[in-house]
């Protein structure tokens, strides 16, 4: 019986240790970027809202937050609608080219924290 409990506890501890490091591993937090420009497309959907934004030289895909959090922080579907001018501060993806996740966005002089 003690052996059984020990085996189970070892498993729980091992998996727990692997998961304790929580974060968005595939984004480069050491090199934050700010992307500013008009919103070209907008998907106000779960698990994360996403917009594409035309910067000076390229189009970025920007991952925002879950829709319920967006709404509760005031960043409603209208705020991130196509045609709005947005400035997004966040971390570029190390996996997908020209994709970033936004820590915060600014629209019409108002800043919305997304994390």
């Amino acid at each position: 019986m003690i052996k059984v409990v020990a085996i189970f506890a070892t498993f729980v501890l091992l998996t727990g240790a692997a998961l304790a490091h929580h974060g968005w591993g595939s984004y480069d937090a050491a090199h934050p970027v700010t992307v500013a420009g008009p919103i070209l497309t907008s998907r106000f959907e779960n698990p994360h809202a996403t917009i594409t934004v035309k910067d000076a030289d390229k189009t970025w895909t920007i991952t925002l937050a879950p829709t319920s959090r967006m709404s509760s922080r005031g960043a409603t579907e209208k705020v991130v609608a196509v045609g709005q001018n947005v400035s997004a501060y966040g971390y570029p993806s190390t996996v997908q080219k020209d994709e970033m996740r936004a820590e915060r966005i600014t629209v019409d002089g108002k800043t919305y924290e997304l994390r």
């Binding site: 019986m1 059984v4 409990v5 085996i7 189970f8 498993f11 729980v12 998996t15 692997a18 998961l19 591993g25 595939s26 998907r43 106000f44 959907e45 779960n46 698990p47 879950p66 829709t67 319920s68 709404s71």
Partner: protein, 163 residues
Amino acid sequence: MTDAAPAIFVALEQSGFGAAIRRSAWLYPAANIGHIVALVFFVGAVAVMDVRLLGGFAATAAGPLLARARWFAVAALAGMAMTGFVLFSAEASHLAVNPVFQLKLALIGAGLLNVALYEFIAKREVDKLPPGAAMPSRVRMAGLLSLMIWVAVAACGRSIAYF
């Protein structure tokens, strides 16, 4: 959406069902919470069964204990399948090509095969064992395998977002 996935998963993601899950403010989070709650019941019930197969709780006859825990495990597994399908549909094309998701499905297959082998080969013998009787080694092996597989399935599920 990714075109790298087989067409059926692209179609599922682009279906009205998939869109409704993404558009709803509460469906996706509700399925997410439901999936975890079902997991808690599932692993709890499975752990009771596996510990019994490994020789624990020996004072209680295996048959009735396993029968009761099995009911919880099957109900919880059904709950996980339903909530999992909702979560999957929202992002089907990405998940279908995610290596950790594929590993998770393979492990679920292995876990169910382990159950099927136990039910066909050993169940009748185990159900007849009196309290305190030693478990045959192949039964203990099935219990240990089950414990390892289902914990690995849970770890894979949590890891999908990181790959």
